[in-house]
């Protein structure tokens, strides 16, 4: 999205409710390039729909239960001071 503080991406749902995503929010959600393959895997079948300003709608991401728990551990973690 071009550098313009007033810009936002606007999407609509099936009931025509608008969702206004400010540039800062979109930027914060930018995925690391190395995550592309995993994201595409979660998207499954996809059909790219061109939007505007270079944006494209790629699909709706649905995480399976195991995806939600990808990084989960029951092992506790806590800050500790150590001698170098």
């Amino acid at each position: 999205m071009p550098e313009d503080a007033s810009q936002a991406l606007v999407i609509a749902d099936a009931e025509n409710n608008y969702y206004v995503l400010p540039r800062e929010v979109v930027e914060m959600a930018r995925a690391a390039p190395e995550a592309r393959a995993v994201i595409e895997e979660h998207l499954g079948a996809q059909g790219r729909v061109p939007l505007a300003d270079g944006y494209t709608f790629v699909g709706v991401l649905r995480l399976r239960a195991e995806g939600e728990m990808t990084h989960y551990t029951t092992e506790a973690s806590w800050p500790v001071a150590t001698a170098p």
Partner: protein
Amino acid sequence: MAAADPPLPLRATVTRAQQRAFAAQGYVPLAGLWGRALAEAVAEEGRRRHAVAEVPRGGPRTPVPARRVPRRATPAASGPLLARVHLALVGAARALTGRLLVPTFAAYGYYEGDDEVFLHVDTEQCDLTLLTVAFGEVGPLHVHPGLIGSTMERLGELEGDPGWDRTGGIRVTYPDTGVTALNGHVLPHHRPGSPRPGLHAVAALCYRSLF
């Protein structure tokens, strides 16, 4: 859910003001996420799990001079109720940050006689850290926006520097029946430490961005 179980946090509503505050400051209190019954159940579980708590193998490690190494490291333990609270707050965590966060770990950390926490940033397991007092009482956390970007070695140097003002930073208290949300992997934080007779516990719930 068993009949005796306390109600978990409802689908928490995060306000725009809280979103803005978190984005701007890197921390924000989220008060009133659960009722007294759940607070008491968490406290009870926290006390019970102390028996199996141990100094964890993982977590931030602040390198300090030998004279500053505490007599006792902070033991920690997980618990099934805390794990359920952790999962119940995933939606609130995502709403607050605007990121697709997933849970990593939840733990009670136990402080006995003193509530000191050395200056550190959380590990990459904690893109978002939710903190609350499980039982007892601890002092405010001090956050340091001016130290963002510092390495753990640098933070350790400050801890070892007698001239560093350990009372500095922005004081952040944990809300009652809620959490302090912290951008823990980015925003350095510490607790100066003060004598606290008896046993106290903080609960930490960590989430990281999936992508």
